[in-house]
Amino acid sequence: MATIEAAVPDQGRGASTYAGGVWSWITTVDHKRIGILYFVSGLVFFLVGGVEAMLMRLQLAAPGNTLLDPATYNQLFTMHGLTMILLAVMPIGAGFFNYLVPLQIGARDVAFPRLNALSYWLFLFGALLLNSSFLFGGAPQAGWFAYANLTSSQYSPGHGMDFYILGLALAGTGSIVAALNFIVTILNLRAPGLSLMRVPLFTWMTLVVSFQIILAFPPFTIAIVFLLFDRMFGTLFFEPLGGGDPILWQHLFWIFGHPEVYIVVLPAFGIISEVIPTFSRKPLFGYPVVVYSGVLIGFLGFGVWAHHMFSVGLGPLANSVFAGLTMLIAIPTGVKIFHWIATMWGGAIRFRTAMLFAVGLIVMFTIGGLTGVMHASPPADLQQTDTYFVVAHLHYVLFGGTMLGLFSGMYYWFPKVTGRFLDERLGKAHFWLTFIGINLTFFPMHFAGLHGMPRRTYTYPAGLGFEGYNLTSTVGAGITLLAVLVFLYNLVRSLRSGERAGASPWGGATLEWSTSSPPPVHNFDWTPQVRSRDPLWHDGVELPAAEEEIHMPNPSYWPVVVAAGALTLAAGALIGLPVVLLGVAVMVGGIYGWAFEPIHG
């Protein structure tokens, strides 16, 4: 790519000169474009997961309904969980990381742009591989948690579980690679003066989440490798007849699975920690505490996994220890909520859509957090685990928490990404429909669960008192779906004809608002010098003399080649050894091509 001259007076005036065409997107190593790719892919999978959810809700609208047969239903709830958590919410979060972190820290890109592209392609190929199972004999149907030994070749014949293993291995590797990249980026590429205790909250949460990813995914990787060997080569890891223990899977899975909850929710916390100060026009209350509480949540997240396993019979001592640690997490989480409210307190709050979603998050997450504390109590949890009460809880956390936070971020940063506002009237309709829809969907589930409705059941009999709750939930799901359609319409319409936005449409405090909307390829004409925590509010940024020339990395097709090799390798595990070898060859060739690629073409 050509060198961009930066001898222009204002930040961001060196206009974007992206090459066009599909090939330019495939070979891009630009963090903003990769962010958009993540975002769009995540949104598509969000719709897929949403359709899966809607089908399930229709099936459950009435007792004894026969809209779906059990095998289909079981595939749907398995894929809904996997899709929403790993293929929708995480990638949308990754979209935000990619687009925003370099902008927020005043960098031109991430530390390893090509590695960043590789992460995206690994995620995408993994996601496609997993979903292709629908075409090749059926998706996995053992739940996203895939408890052994139901997943053995004996109890899960067919290839559904193999697609689960291989797809998630690819996508998981992508996540680890991305997280490593962001750790280095945030620690190493901050603008001068931007010490860690001045870094915007969203970037801070990205750092915490990145550490969680690199530490949580390996145990899961090992677990699925064990499972793969059990299924393909007859090893005995989870085979009770050979002395293996299915509970070991549960441990390894939840050592990953619980941090994963924070991996999806902390970015949303980071987002609203940016949105609330901007729209309250007050700095974040108690910044260090909000940072430390995030770090603490991230750390404690590794010590609580067995609270998913209270009914396994680990004994009262183990249950007590894990209950205690789990309750501890409530403290930093509660503290965060207080700090958000305190930030609003005494402010001059503007209720733009982004702010509505942020406040919605506080409302909903408080409820999800409180029911979470109930699960932390093992005796209470014994009545609640595996029921709709948990379904209610986790959706209050993941939809009411994470998704509302992500929506908030979309309204907040859409002007930065596109140079146009999302429509406010449609946005408000989107918010209220969502808020009503999800409460109508998930609140009745608390009652259904407490009254004895287990989850993951494709039907329920009349007469247990579940009918009304389920019908209400289904209606609520319909309203939520409507809300999503409003959002999509808003997205498409505003992209074309939304009101133009300037560099800093909301008067935000952080560095990304100092460059044009959309930012130029190289983000900043000058590396900013930062002097305070809210650089754009307190005269805290200084622009040094213009840099003479700015080199941006060239596009590269090696990342997609390496990822394609990995995909071939994974697919080969289902097809045969020659394909595996081909995949390895492509990967190795790709890595060498990558290593010897010249910087400037």
């Binding site: 490593l180 901050r190 002395g243």
Partner: protein, 190 residues
């Protein structure tokens, strides 16, 4: 040297973060090995097959490869072309010997009827040491690639960070073996 906030080159920090991640990978393997210890329902059992003297030798070989690795880095940093070549190649060769030893061990086990799916010991043993062996193999390929670069005179002091990063990886693999040697072999009798 590029300028970063921390003063640590990006590549080096990437490798350390990756090593942190690898700690969890091997922790999961080791934890599995330990929880399944002594739970095999049928033989052969570890004490029947593990050849401590043989593995002690290959362990020693891998330990010494860490020494040659660190000497290789030192040579690269000093601009000592000959030293770089010799020590990089030596490290790779020691790695190959280690992996070869593992291959001999594996085939010996298979010959004694301890296939991959024989019992819990074989399942956990082969996957744990196999994961480690795969890491060593990747390291050997990496070192040989660097060695080729030195042969072409393309690995001077200015790019020593490449060798440093490879070295970190190599030492970590060695460190993992220090733990595995103890956990799998020396604690097998207790």
């Amino acid at each position: 040297m590029e300028r970063t906030n921390t003063g640590v080159p990006n590549e080096k920090m990437l490798m350390w973060a990756f090593i942190g991640s690898e700690c969890m990978l091997f922790a999961s393997l080791i934890a599995t090995y330990l929880t399944y210890r002594g739970r095999s329902l049928v033989g052969p059992y570890p004490e029947d097959l593990l050849n401590i003297p043989f593995i002690t030798v290959t362990t020693f070989v891998l330990l010494m490869s860490s020494l040659t690795m660190v000497l290789a880095l030192s040579a690269v940093q000093r601009g000592d072309a000959r030293g770089s070549r010799v020590f990089l190649l030596l490290t790779a060769v020691l790695g190959i010997i280690f992996v070869g030893g593992q291959a001999i061990e594996f085939s010996h086990f298979a010959g004694e009827g301890l296939g991959l799916s024989r019992n819990l010991f074989s399942s956990t043993f082969f996957l744990t040491t196999g994961f480690h062996g795969a890491h060593v193999t990747v390291g050997v390929i990496w070192l040989l690639s660097l060695w080729v670069l030195t042969m072409r005179g393309r690995l001077g002091p200015e790019s020593s960070v490449k060798v440093e990063v490879a070295g970190l990886y190599w030492h970590f693999v060695d460190v993992v073996w220090i733990v595995l040697f103890t956990v799998i072999y020396l604690m097998s009798g207790s």
